[in-house]
Symmetry: C2
Subunit: 239 residues, 2 copies
DNA sequence: TTGGTTGCAGTGGTCTGACCTCCTACCTCT
DNA sequence: AGAGGTAGGAGGTCAGACCACTGCAACCAA
């Protein structure tokens, strides 16, 4: 009955079926039951599950079950961790990438955001609480929201991957910059996005990321993606 | 004998051992022999192999064997393909990302490259042949070399991931732009890097990527990472 | 000789069913 | 009511068999 007239590897077919049929349930059925239901062996099913786990679509917990998640940034993050084993170097390069990507995202968000998106951003900005434990995830969420508004999934994905591995740093950064100052910088970005002013958003975000980097004891930049000539991209109006 | 006193998942340990011991051989031993040698079951070994395949470290071919490779961009590329199933949209976003990232890479490369690196770049540039079949891989290689000189593995990785999925487009682009013109643009970049002039390298690369995008029937940009105000980043000296 | 064909041996792919390890929730005892 | 133990069920590992694909070498025909 589940014979199917496939040509390629069986595991691929299983992955597709899983992704299609169990997209919106919290947990997968037990492996034994599921393999029986799909008409494949447990081995093949396990290979498929493992594959999707690495891809960030599933999360298997020994003795518990297989949870359905959606973290497409997981494989990217894992790759980066493998490619840059040294934590300090990784964080330094992350900072450089943020310096390049975040302003571009802010500009794009300002130029594309409609009323609904602006509201979402305002909400995310409002969540920045008064304690570090609240602020760190809120800060991450703010930047994530902005990246989504920008409409470029590639940049968004890259930023998520980076954020996942530097969450610890954000705490230090926020502590040094100060919650009030960080909130003020966020506010300037929100303001620019509300006005649809791409240049201002770019400038505000650039200032924000620069402040974060300079307040954190990450090493000096080995190169500056935006160049030392500050008159280039931050010439736009800014409060 | 290979009992080992592990705590975590066995598969993790196998992956480590494989990565460590078989890093520099072209092929892995057959699964049966290898599982016996490592003292684990074939199932466990297969899970490890499959994992490393997804991570871009192995490449298994049915009926042939398991090849040892090193393509860290594979998982990123796969993720992007899954996140952006629509080919046109994917290529458009790729073009935008390149527009943002490549100039930054060129600048960094110019500011960091020493004599040896400059030679490597010159060699890569020299390989741009006279036929499309030669030019496409040579063009890819040129940009890859430049990214390596820039010294930021994150950007380099991202660019490789993109390149792997847009190789087909490069052919069209090169055809429209013309090999001679593309070579001239590359030459301007090389020149700037040789002089250590970051701004010029940035400008030359920006012009190159823009020309490529405008010559290719990819859709109009939904947003411009570098902004519509052309006076911003391309103000540097340029031939 | 040369060209295509066939068969075989070795590889990864899948299946089965058994046992081990871990987590949870329930149950018991205090 | 709380702390501790226990049984069930989840994933993890194992063993051995058979299936499917690939490459090559031996073979046969022109």
């Amino acid at each position: 009955m589940p014979a199917s007239l496939r040509r390629g590897p069986l595991v691929d077919a299983i992955c597709e079926r899983l992704a299609r049929q169990y997209r919106s349930v919290p947990w997968l059925p037990p492996e034994r039951a599921l393999s029986a239901r799909l008409g494949v062996s447990r081995s093949a099913l396990r290979e498929a599950v493992q594959r999707m786990e690495i891809q960030g679509l599933l999360e298997v917990k020994h003795g518990v079950g297989v949870r359905v998640v959606n973290k497409p940034q997981a494989p990217v993050g894992a790759t980066l961790a493998r490619e840059l084993p040294d934590l300090t170097e990784r964080l330094r390069q992350f900072a450089e990438v943020r310096l390049l990507v975040e302003p571009a995202i802010a500009r794009a968000a300002a130029e594309r955001a409609g009323p609904a998106e602006r509201t979402a951003l305002r909400v995310a900005h409002g969540r920045l609480g008064t304690t570090l434990d609240e602020a760190v995830p809120a800060d991450l969420e703010f930047h994530r929201t902005l990246a989504e508004l920008a409409g470029n999934r590639v940049l968004s994905l890259m930023l998520s991957s980076i954020a996942g591995l530097e969450a610890e740093t954000r705490r230090i950064t926020l502590e040094h910059v100060g919650l009030a100052e960080a909130a003020a910088q966020h506010a300037r970005i929100v303001e620019a996005v509300e006005r649809g002013d791409g240049d201002a958003a770019h400038a505000a975000m650039l200032a924000h990321v620069r402040a974060a980097r300079e307040a954190t004891p990450v090493l000096a930049p080995s190169f500056s993606p935006s160049g030392p000539r500050s008159a280039k991209t931050s010439a736009a109006r800014s409060p």
